[in-house]
Symmetry: C2
Subunit: 252 residues, 2 copies
């Protein structure tokens, strides 16, 4: 297969290059990735300034383009200009999980959603440990998954958000199809004073995992399974919309 | 009411200041907004560098904080530090619509979704014309809407994405509860060569509006109604998840 790879940790990141190495055993791989880290960049795109592209010779397993943009930019420029008509688009391997509300902030997931909007089978993949990611394990899983999964079943505007537990490949119990959970961050800010007397703030947070849903994404990972969540770009709260529609319309 | 205002066009933008002026007639308004334009920034947050805050004396109708961050940062820092426990969070008025897949890229909508995740009634508001927005009309609508709508009905993790047609307030026909449509951009890139011989690319695009859904957000606006779409942070494609669950599980 012809695979377009991107990520949000930047073109030189270990997760990306490890995945390229593994996938290149069986596939043609082209990397289009941000020149610098773009974590937590969400689904940003670059519309007011142009995008520069540089070809880098940093990987023997794939052609590598570094661009001055976001993961979503990489996918747009990738499929439009640099590597047309890939068979699959993969964003990752991210350093750390993209579970629960992480999905909303994730540059990795946005790369895959952009691919889905462009009409290609698209996957986001993360090694679910911030401190000790295990890229080899996630890369081996992806190589296996590409052989096993029927991508033609993926509906339009939908991508797969894959989180691989950071354990050796042999110990992974399998995969589970899951639902994006309510897992979230409780933020707080630490105020400091800079050398010029101005107050500045660091954003910090703790994870809260209290979702009752047995299909919650993070539970699969906790139990040693790969979590695979189908995510779409449509955010409508359908049940609330139904309720709103019963309200008396105004001025109609 | 105590209203926290943010936006993605930046703290000095006309849409934001017009809304502050109108709302201040009946409410206490505090602005926490990005110091520079952050359009199409998606749901980015600032986690690797700190955030600076500056109080600006640029508006007689509201206290104004300018911060070196994104709309999502503004809401987090707003409710945690600068203006605790607001009754409502409003993001806007955006210059131009946030309809269909715009929602995914929109800094304006992400401000409201961040507010919803923090547990506050949260609204995104846009004047639905890129070239000729009509902020007075949208601001007057918002003042009216705040009086009429029961915010306690909004479920957790859900915000309202409001698009006001850019026509005089008197000509607005009312409001409709709608669904996020498949309205999308067909992108293309224009390549140029910079004075140093390097190729760079501008992202350009055309809007495609071909959604058959009678409840499509953009149709309400086209017909002279305010479009109100309840949007949530949960992206799971439920119908596809159901289908995937029927597939034979692997290694389980």
């Amino acid at each position: 297969m012809r695979i377009l790879l991107t990520n949000d940790d930047g073109v030189t990141s270990e997760g990306l290059l490890t995945l390229a190495k593994y996938l290149s055993r069986e596939h043609e791989v082209v990397i289009v990735a941000p020149e610098s880290e773009r974590s937590a960049v969400g689904h940003a795109i670059t519309i007011h300034v142009p995008i520069w592209v540089k070809e880098l010779k940093i990987c023997e397993h794939a052609k590598v383009y570094s661009i001055t943009g976001t993961p979503a930019d990489c996918v747009k420029l990738g499929v439009d200009v640099l590597f047309r008509e890939p068979d699959v688009i993969i964003s990752g391997i991210n350093k750390g999980p993209n579970l629960g509300t992480d999905v909303i902030y994730s540059g990795t997931v946005s790369g895959a959603l952009e691919g889905a909007m462009s009409g290609y089978p698209s996957l986001a993949v993360s090694s679910a440990d911030y401190q000790n990611p295990l890229y080899e394990s996630a890369a081996e899983f992806m190589l296996e998954f590409l052989k096993s999964f029927d991508f033609s079943s993926i509906p339009p505007y939908t991508a797969l958000n894959i989180n691989v537990p950071a354990i050796p490949y042999e110990r992974i119990k399998g995969w589970r199809f899951t639902r994006q959970s309510k897992r979230r961050w409780e933020d707080y800010f630490e105020a400091r004073v800079d050398p010029f007397g101005r107050t500045y703030y660091w954003m910090l947070g703790n994870v809260i995992e209290d979702d009752e849903d047995p299909d919650a994404d993070y539970k699969a990972v906790q139990e040693g399974y790969v979590s695979i969540t189908p995510v779409s770009v449509f955010l409508t709260n359908e049940s609330y919309l139904k309720k709103l529609k019963t309200l008396e319309p105004r001025k109609e």
